[in-house]
Structures are given as C-alpha cells and as structure tokens.
Amino acid sequence: MMAACPACAAAPAAVELAQANSTLQISVPSVRCAACISAIERHLTHVQGVVSARVNLTQKRVHILTDLPASAMVEALKHIGYDAYPLDARALAQNVDLEGRDLLMRMGVAGFAMMNVMLLSVAVWSGASGATRDLFHLISAMIAIPMVLYAAQPFFKNAWSVLKVRRLNMDVPISLAIILACGMSLFETLMGGEHAYFDAALSLTFFLLIGRYLEHRTRSAAHSAAKELAALEAHTAELKTEAGSETVSIDALKVGDIVLVASGMRVPADGFLVTPEGVTDRSLLTGESEPVSHTVNDQLHSGEINLAGPLEVRVSAVGQDTRLHQIARLVETAENARNRYTSLADRAAQIYAPAVHLLALATFVGWVIWGLDVRHALNIAIAVLIITCPCALGLAVPAVSTAAISRLYRLGFLVKSGTALERLSEVKTVVLDKTGTLTSPDFSFDLSDFASRDLSIAKALAQASAHPLSQALDRHLESQPSATLNGPREVKGCGVSGFYGQIPVALGKADWLGAGDTGLCLKIGDHRHALPFQEPLRTGVLEMVDGLKANALQLEILSGDNEAKTRNLARNLGLNKFQSKTSPEGKNAHVADLADQAQFPCMIGDGLNDTVALASAHASIAPGTALDAARNAADVIVIDDTMEKIPQVFAISRKAVALSRQNFGIAIAYNAVAVPIAILGYATPLAAALAMSLSSITVLVNAARVGFEK
C-alpha cells in the first residue's frame, strides 16, 4: 500500500521544494459537516509535504496532492480523530463522471432554449398574427432546431441502436415525436402557417433529460460507492526478494514467486504452502466456518484469510488459471441470461409505440378520406403523436426508480442494476448463504454444564495453542482462572494434551480423542466432554428472517458447511428448508431449479461459492463484507451491517413497481382525454404544452411518494 518513496518519507522538508504530482484519494466515512471539512483541510495542509487537500463531502473522500505515502495521511487523519481508508487509485479508475456532466449540459441547454421559445410562444398564443407571428416562429425555429439536434442526441442514439436490432423502446416514439414536431413546425413556419410546436419539442426534450439525468445520478452514486468498496482492498502482494520483501501489484506475480502473507491478510494468489504449517479461514471460498489447518505443500487459494502466524506461499497459478477467474467466467455466462430480462418500461413501450404510431397513421388516412388536404391531415396526425404524452410515459418508471433507489441508499443499500427493483418485487423465495451472511465466522460456546475445575483445565489447555478455536475459547473463559498443567504439548492439527497433577488431560478434535463425532472435545482422565460451540448470528439476522417471513417470502438455507451446523442454524431461525455441503455449481443448480418452479429466487450470499448463484438468481443481495467477486455479481449491496433492513428492500421495490404501474395509468388517463381532441383536429400547441406539463408533473409527484416513510 505504501507509495514506494522512502526518501521522501525520511526527508519531508525536501518534498515541499519539489513539485508534488501524485493525488491520493482517501475515504473518510465519518466526515459530516462544515466543521469536519475545515478541521481536516486545515490539519492536512499543515502537514509537511502536503501541497493541498480538499474534502469532497458528497463522496466522503479527501483528495490530497502530495508525494507522501497514503499510510502517512491515514495516520495524520487518525491523529485528529477521523478513521480513514486509502483507496486504490487503479480500482477507482476515472473519478470524473463524464457522462453525468454531458447529460447535465444537454439538460441545461434544452432548459434555456425552452424558456426562450416559450416566451415567444406565449406571444403567439396571446394573439400575435400575420408577419409578427411568422417572425416569432422563425426565431423559435432558429433557436429550437440546433438546440434539439444537440440536446436530444441521447434519445436519438438510443432509438437508433434498438431499431437496428429490430426492437422498440420508449426512445423510439420520443425521438419520432421530437423530429416530426420540429420538421412539421419548420415547414409550417416557412409556409406562414398558424401552428408551430417548437416549444413542445423542446419541453419534451427538457423534461425527459431531467428524468435521464436523475436516473444517471442515482446509478452513478451506487456505482462509485461499489467501486469504492473494491478500492478499499489492497490489490497488492508482499513479494519475497533477496533483500527482504517488496510490495507489488497482484498482476505482476509470476508462477514460482514466493509471497509473504501476514497474519489476518488474504492470500493474494493460488499457491502451495512453503511454511511448515498454517491455519486459514476458508469461509469466503467454501462456506466452511471452521478454520482449516494446512501443512507444507498444501494448496491454498486466493481469498483465504491467514489466521495464524505469517505464511510463505509459492505461487502456482496467476491470472486466468486461478480458481477466482474460473468462477468469474461462470458468472459472465450467468449474467448474460439475466440481461435478457425485459423491463417494465420496455414492455410498456412495446405496446405503446406501435399503438400510437398506428393511431397517428389512421388519423392521417381518415382525414384524407374525409376530404381534408394532405398538409392539414399531416398536421393533425403529428399533433396526435406529440400529444400522446410520451413525456409522462417516459418518466413513469425512471422517476419512481430514482426515488426508490435514493431511499434505499439512505437506508444503507446500493442498488447497482436498473431492473433490480422490478426483479426484486417478483421474488417468492429467498435463498440464504450461511457463513458470513447469517453467521460470523467466529465461535461462541455453551459451557453451562461444566464444572469450574474443568473449565480451568480447558482454559489452560486452550492457552497452550495458537489455533483460532483455542483462542476463541480462551477469550470466552476470560474471567476463569486457568489451572496449572504439567508439560502441555500441542499436536498440530489435532489439539493439546498435558497433565493436570497426575491426570492426563487433552483438548482437541473429537475424533482425535476418540469421541467419534465431529466438533471439539475436552478429555479429563477417561471422561470426555463435548464442547458445544456454534457460530454467532450476525446482528439483525433474526429481525431479517422475521421481516422476510412477514413479506410472505419463502426462506431456504444453502450452505457449503457441514450438515450438523446447517441444521442447527435452520432450527434456531425456525426454518425447515436447508441444504448443506453444497458446491458453488450445486448452489447455481439449486437456484436454477427454483427459477424453473417460477419461484423467482433471490440469493443472499457473500462468498466465492455463492458468486455464480448470485449472478444467475432472479435477483441477488450481498453484504458489504462479501468478497469482491460476490459484490460485483450482486444487484444490491448492503453497505452497513444492516441485515435487519433487508426486508425493506423487498417492500420498497414492490411499492416502486406498484407506483410505476400507477404512473402508466395516469399517463393513459391523460391520453384518454387528450387523444380524442387531437384526432378531431382541435389540438393547439397550447393544449399540447398544458397536457405535457401537467401529466409530467403528476407523474413526478406520484413517484416521489415512494420516498416517504409509511
């Protein structure tokens, strides 16, 4: 993580003379107010070697221009009481949101053009006639046409790209309405006609760009927060060199390299153990909650967490050959299937677009048969196209999902995919992973029926071992005095034995002590006591299970861990469906089975073994503590440890879909009134402007209801 510039760190005074040219980004989640901003900026700029520091409150980050290493900055921030986490610049990629700025620019241009044209239109509507009206129309045309050509490009591009693959979406009728309105109005202007719809074309563009921009902003907030989670992880490894060790990027590792893994760190690449023995936590990879002991030459996978002393690992696979990459390939295939999901807006567009186009055509043909000249018939037909409120229809879904996603964001959920809300609202069965999702990979013991003497012996034995289970037992027996043992001896991979006075005592694996079953056992003389232990539930899991049941969802546990533990947990949570010892492919297959039974499964999981199921399930949720790959595959990420709020995700997404449907209803109701008027030829640009604004505002206000607490 350290920027490799020891000279700078050693002589900070010299740095100020040299031009610092690297920007560090540091995440400071606790920055909240104006006082925090000035405290941080003032403190950092006084640190020698810092050229400038600027807090971004929206992103809760500090950008620092300096040559000092990130760790020095984290230290400086800790000094004034802020927890800080350096972000990996490469994982953040580009920080500037270019697409958002582009949309904002188009929105602004359309807005200003609309205001000017509207001013001219108001004059026409209030009775300007003859040469004055023609002049006003001409000026409107000169403003509107270039501005529409610039501002409405996102719709044109989208419409073109779906038309090329012979499909329809909402952008097709929108683009057509904009283009025809401008074309027809230009023709009318040149012919000295009465009606011009330039203001309608511009306000349509403006309103829809607002929707597009809001949608983009919520989505990019989710994306940048997700990227930030990824950037919090160091993508580096400690490479063993002749001189000691060197920090290198994981990409730079080669087969045969020896990497050092400090205690508590993740193994950076697949490889074989060089150190005589080690203990790792594999729960993110396989779902096993118990630590796994390894001896020299055992295979380790990237992502395992080192629980004991420092390890040396000889790298055996990099890049495409790692287990992680194989899983990533499976995920890609699974995601392609999900991308075929047709959203509510697209389904509506597939009905609406042909209907409105046929209606306009029928109007035109009808009027021509009635005996009207082609120019007037065309005028009326185009007025029908403009007045059918593509605006309200175009805003119906994005407005609601924007409001719903920002509400979920405030509750601590990142919604990454646009159609996630719709998919979540259809879910009938929730599939839960065990380790890491429902339980923490830690242990709690139930020692109520042990004599005090036995506990003292257990504690003394536990203290003689560095195994994580022993250490957890030692912590659990904090207040217990430990007995004095003679010659405690650790048998690697089995347990600890020794003598209490003359009595042989031992603590270790049940099968080593002849107690048959799996688990932990304390042996005193000939007496064997099983030490029942279980993984503690994550906070909020009980509330989550109750809440999900209250939302009429079926629950299942799908675990990679052994059956006894899975059954135990299922019983504690009051669930009767569970499956244990499931492989990653098995989880995927089970989710596919549920999908075939029209259960619309939602997977909630955190590990590599859940990743494929997360990607293939109808919808998916991952805790923020999940593995990188799992977070990438999931639709929704729980940022804080707020498991108890997960039922709200389902409740809010159902409400959002209901409101979207209501919005379509509102838009259709407006059409039911406005379309007959347009077909009969009574539509004026004023009526079009009123219908468009009123329907759009109604739809937006209705959408905002999803943001309110009940």
């Binding site: 107010c33 104006a34 006082a35 901003i37 000035s38 003032r42 807090v55 971004n56 409150l57 929206t58 992103q59 700025r101 904002l104 620019m105 602004g108 241009v109 200003f112 053009a113 205001m115 000017n116 001013l119 004055t132 002049l135 000026i139 403003i143």
Partner: protein, 46 residues
C-alpha cells in the same frame, strides 16, 4: 411594434447569457460536490 427590434435581441442575449453562465458553472466543477458546497458556506473564513 417597432419596439420588437430592441426587445427580441435583448431577450435572446439574456437567454444566451444564462446559457453561458450555466456552461461556466459546469466547466468549473461547481456541481461535483453539492453537499460539500452547502456546508462550506457555514465554515468561517481563515
């Protein structure tokens, strides 16, 4: 209606001024950190 000769150019140039100001705010990164800017006006100048 001769007054239009002045009024139309004036209204167009005001609109143009608005657009120019908007583009300027966008180019000078004034929308990058809205909540930070809202908080900063409360901070005392040094």
């Amino acid at each position: 209606m001769n007054v239009l000769v002045f009024l139309i150019p004036i209204s167009l140039s005001l609109g143009g001024l608005g657009i120019w100001a908007f583009v300027w705010t966008l180019k000078s990164h004034q929308y990058d950190d809205p909540s930070g800017d809202a908080a900063r006006i409360l901070a005392e100048e040094e």
